[in-house]
């Protein structure tokens, strides 16, 4: 077999009298490249296997890039180095060991990430880093040993590429070990992708093009090549290093600057290629294909620049995901195709006539194939409807398959009877190919037969299909967060039609796939999707398909309970443990004991004293796009005043004037209604449209804890979705206390605001939970503080929309209760109170003294509401 460089050398200098590379090289390369072909085959298998595999997207990318492309780069960068430097081949044993170790490491990484345990993957990544460092060292030693030559500069690119994979491998190892969660994980992911694609693959391709491109164009190498190569490498490598550091560290503009420098380096390297282009138009399929690949490289780089400039560092990885087909197909695969188009005729050998015939065969219809592939690539990337995306895949795959068919035809045509081979080397390679062809065909046929049989055998599930009839339905909220799926187990009677509403409450991307085949798309943080399942017959496993997450514990199980759900039980009797089955159709229960997300901040319940002055100016902006953590691990969109639920607290004294500038920054009409003011509703409480503002002026003539809320119909929606807040007007001579807290209680309806199910549940008044200050059980996770013996005043407002509260502190009776403008109980009265009861929209306060250190729950003593989130804790410390 002859590498491209050998061909070029032959062409440039008529003949080198002694250029006899040792013969074994041919068969060595043939065998080494067989590994590449095998990985490519596996890539196709993974692509077709799709959803049946764990972590299919990850696997597809890594089988292709680590297996096929990685092996190819390892083999060919060493081969080119030897050929360009005209040095002796390094010891075969070393090359073989590196190749074996790289493949072993690849297998370890693939197995470790997709099936676990993660130390296998991390170990594989470590081994891979070791191999590429060794590879880089070998290249450096070869350069040292060689005489100064015209092509030595290319090796620098290969060494830098090896360094890039070493860095990328380290990052990959960290990712597989789940080091760094949430945003940090996403940042490392972005850095990992950038350094591997633009470093390991990009630098190698750029370096190779210096010699390959003029060869393909059949022109001389530009005089400026060496200089351009120096400058390009000098810019690209530090640029990439800075970019990767910036992405990993979360410094967006550092990353952007680094990428700009890298892009400048890339452009500098393309200067001699462009010059060659000016000298000679591309005229062959190979040259056009390579040119298209370079264009896609530039497009990918430009898109990458835009992404990095417009996203925060932890959002880059998600945004780059959609660019993946462009890079993999447009740039990497097309580079491979272009190179093969050029190299294969030489590899096949068989004399000048055969060379010509093979080249002509491979180039047959190249214009159409090129057009199809490059038309397909943008369709894969752009946000087009699904059928169009499928058309894109068809175009791309059709083009690739056409090439493969032509290549195989060329291979089989290389039959005995051709002209005698010109060089022993070619003949050796060709003969080996031809000889092994029947065996290869046999293996392929056998594997295909077996695969077909296995597919037939495993189709239609693993057990006898007993049709399960639907007996009921139930909706379950499923939350993906913190490397777990909540609830981890769902029990439902056989035949229940489960609907899973899956929400990603984490700061990184997840999805949910069930063993029965249903799956959500990859969900960005805060996004939701709904899965409707077939009637539950047997236990079904679910898991997150993002690489490594299943192994890390992101699994769930749907378990049918034995009893067939009977008709709704008679309402008279107590149904005992069958109760669960009967209420299965009710709303899903929140998992209030689950941890809050790490980045959740509780609404500050501490109430500040009224500011001085008799006039208070405040701006309140209505918004309806915020996503808040409304219960542990549950994020959903809420409608807010000034971005918080409840809205800002207004506090003043009797007679104070409030001048509120109300701005509608939302996407629909909103208004505002302050109960504390006396004014005709027509003007200030009118609904204003997005972008409009109004001034709402009122004087607080009466003391009390007042509600304010959105005044736009339907108010159930606007209030239930979060548009409420409190106005506190201190009664005259309000005594000073040690601490004041404010709890605004509201109802929680899970779901996207405005959806039919959400609206219906609000109208029926069936909340999924209750919240103090916007989070169900929030103060269980971030307890309120006090000290024993302190007098604590708890202000409360019931925002509803439909339920009030019976506020109670376990273990500490109230000695003062003030409700709706009047004291119901004064501090020096002999009696006490156990509950501050408020109907919807009422407000007041209660005072108590904590007798001793301890943990005192504060609850809505309508226990259903307490158990569904109207629950918090006072942590009382000793003095």
């Amino acid at each position: 077999m002859v590498g491209p460089v050998d061909i070029r050398v032959e062409r440039e200098r008529p003949l080198d009298p002694e250029a006899p590379p040792p013969r074994p090289r041919a068969s060595w390369h043939l065998r080494a490249n067989a590994i590449v072909i095998a990985w490519l085959g596996l890539t196709v298998a993974v692509a077709l296997g799709g959803d049946a595999l764990p972590a299919p997207r990850w696997l597809l990318v890594h089988v292709f890039l680590l297996g096929a492309v990685g092996t190819a780069i390892l083999i060919w960068s060493e081969h080119f180095t030897v050929a360009l430097l005209r040095v002796r081949t390094p010891p075969r044993r070393g090359s073989l060991t590196r190749l074996a170790a790289l493949n072993a490491a690849t297998v370890a990484v693939l197995a470790g990430v997709s099936a676990g345990p993660w130390p296998v993957a991390a170990g594989g990544a470590g081994l891979m880093v070791g191999v590429v460092l060794w590879h880089g060292t070998v290249l450096v030693l070869l350069v040292r040993r060689a005489l100064p030559g015209r092509f030595g500069h290319v090796i620098g690119w290969y060494v830098a590429a090896a360094g890039a994979l070493a860095a990328g491998g380290v990052l990959g190892g960290l990712l597989s070990a789940h080091l760094g969660h949430g945003a940090l994980h996403e940042r490392l992911h972005a850095a990992h992708a950038e350094v591997n694609v633009f470093g390991w693959v990009g630098l190698t391709v750029l370096g190779t093009l210096f010699t390959l491109w003029p060869t393909v164009l059949r022109t001389r190498m530009s005089e400026r090549t060496r200089r351009a190569s120096r400058v390009g490498l000098g810019l690209a490598v530090p640029g990439l290093a800075v970019a990767v550091a910036g992405l990993a560290g979360g410094w967006r503009w550092v990353a952007f600057a680094g990428l700009v420098v890298y892009a400048a380096g890339g452009l500098a390297a393309l200067v001699p290629l462009a010059e060659a282009l000016r000298r000679k138009q591309p005229h062959t399929g190979a040259s056009w294909t390579l040119a298209a690949a370079i264009v896609w490289f530039e497009v990918a780089l430009a898109a990458d620049l835009v992404v990095v400039a417009t996203r925060r560092a932890h959002e880059v990885a998600a945004a780059l995901d959609s660019l993946l087909p462009l890079v993999l197909v447009g740039f990497v695969a097309q580079t491979l195709l272009g190179s093969l188009l050029h190299l294969l005729p030489a590899v096949l050998g068989g004399g000048p006539a055969r060379f010509k015939a093979n080249a002509a065969l491979l180039e047959r219809g190249w214009a159409a194939r090129l057009a199809a592939l490059n038309l397909g690539v943008p369709l894969l990337v752009l946000p087009v409807p699904r059928p169009v995306t499928l058309l894109g895949w068809a175009l791309v795959l059709g083009s690739v398959v056409a090439f493969v068919v032509l290549a195989l035809t060329a291979l089989t045509r290389a039959r005995p009877g051709g002209a005698p081979p010109p060089a022993a080397e070619d003949a050796e390679g060709g003969r080996t190919w031809r000889k092994s062809l029947p065996a290869v065909a046999g293996v392929a046929a056998g594997c295909l037969l077996t695969a077909a049989a296995v597919v037939a055998a495993t189709s239609g599930g693993s057990g006898p299909a007993t049709p399960v009839t639907a007996t009921g339905s139930r909706t379950v909220e499923v939350t993906l967060s913190g490397m777990s799926i909540r609830p981890a187990a769902v029990q439902a009677p056989v035949g229940t039609v489960l609907t899973l509403r899956v929400t990603n409450a984490d700061a990184q991307r997840h999805d949910l796939r069930l063993a029965t085949g249903e799956r959500t798309p990859l969900l960005a943080p805060g996004r939701s999707a709904t899965l409707k399942l077939a009637p539950l017959g047997e236990p079904v496993d679910g898991w997150c398909t993002v690489a490594g997450h299943r192994a890390a514990g992101m699994t769930m199980r749907l378990v049918p309970t034995g009893a067939v759900a009977s008709r709704p039980q008679p309402s008279t009797g107590h149904t005992g443990h069958g109760d669960h089955a009967a209420t299965a159709a009710g709303p899903a229960r929140l998992d209030l004991a689950a941890p809050m997300s790490p980045d959740w901040k509780p609404y500050d319940a501490m109430l500040l004293p009224a500011p001085g002055g008799a006039e208070h100016r405040v701006e309140i902006r209505a918004e309806d796009t915020r996503v808040r953590e409304v219960a542990p691990g549950v994020r959903q969109r809420v409608w807010t005043f000034n971005g918080t639920m409840p809205g800002p607290v207004l506090r003043g004294r009797v007679g104070d004037v409030f001048v509120v500038t109300f701005v509608n920054a939302g996407s629909m009409g909103h208004g505002i209604d302050f109960h504390a003011g006396a004014t005709a509703p027509d003007g200030p409480m009118r609904t204003i449209q997005p972008g409009e503002r109004l001034t709402y002026r009122f004087r607080a003539d009466f003391a009390g804890a007042w509600l304010y809320h959105c005044s736009t119909m339907p108010m159930t929606q606007h209030i239930a979705n979060g548009m409420y807040g409190a106005v506190i007007i201190d009664p005259p001579d309000l005594p000073k206390v040690d601490r004041e807290y404010l709890l605004v209680q509201g109802e929680l309806y899970l779901d996207e605001p405005g959806t039919d199910a959400h609206v219906a549940r609000i109208r029926k008044g069936e909340p999924d939970g209750w919240m103090f200050n916007g989070t169900a059980s929030g103060y269980d996770h971030a307890p309120l503080r006090a000290e024993a013996g302190e007098r604590v005043r708890i202000w409360a407002v019931a925002a509803g929309p439909s339920s009030g509260t019976a506020l109670h502190v376990v273990g500490a009776p109230f000695d003062t209760v003030y409700k709706e403008g009047a004291y119901a109980l004064r501090t020096d009265d002999p009696g006490g109170a156990q509950v501050l009861d408020l109907a919807p929209a009422q407000g007041g306060f209660a005072e108590l003294v904590f007798p001793e250190p301890g943990t005192y729950p504060v609850v809505d003593h309508s226990m259903r509401q307490a158990e569904a989130g109207a629950h918090g804790l006072f942590k009382v410390a000793g003095r």
Partner: protein, 145 residues
């Protein structure tokens, strides 16, 4: 340990002999013959090996395999319609079809060797070998009872 164990033993043993025999011929006999024998002798030896293996297949392997296989299926209560059921039935059906394909490939190999079409003969031999490994794979996938 019942008589059925003996039947199952025969089924497994005969399969092992047939697959193992193919592997031995492909991995041991063929390479050595290529290296040690000249072209004429090699052809003679390989033809003889092929003929003997073919006779063994037709005279011993196939009758034993079919007989014990049918018996085991009968005991298991397999019916024609149950072959379509997902799970045991479908795996068994796939295995039988693959087995038929392997036998067809082996037969083609014999014919191609006789008809002096070495390329086709080799292709068929290798696909029969790989396919029979697939049969073993499916056999291990059958749920045990």
């Amino acid at each position: 340990m019942t008589w059925w164990s003996a039947v199952r033993f025969l089924h497994v043993l005969s399969a092992a002999l047939w697959v193992g025999g193919q592997l031995t011929v492909s991995l041991v006999v063929l390479p050595l013959a290529r290296r040690l024998l000249d072209e004429q002798r090699r052809a003679a030896v390989l033809t003889a090996v092929g003929r003997r293996f073919g006779i063994l297949t037709a005279a011993a392997f196939l009758p034993v395999q079919l007989g014990t296989g049918v018996a085991l299926a009968w005991r298991k209560g397999v019916t024609w319609s149950s072959l379509a059921d997902p799970g045991y039935g479908r795996i068994l059906a796939a295995k039988l079809l693959l087995f038929c394909a392997v036998m067809a490939a082996a037969g083609l190999h014999g014919w191609a060797s006789g008809a002096a079409r070495p390329g086709l003969a080799r292709t068929m031999a290798v696909s029969a070998l790989v396919g029979s490994l697939g049969v073993v794979l499916l056999a291990t996938a059958l749920p045990a009872t």
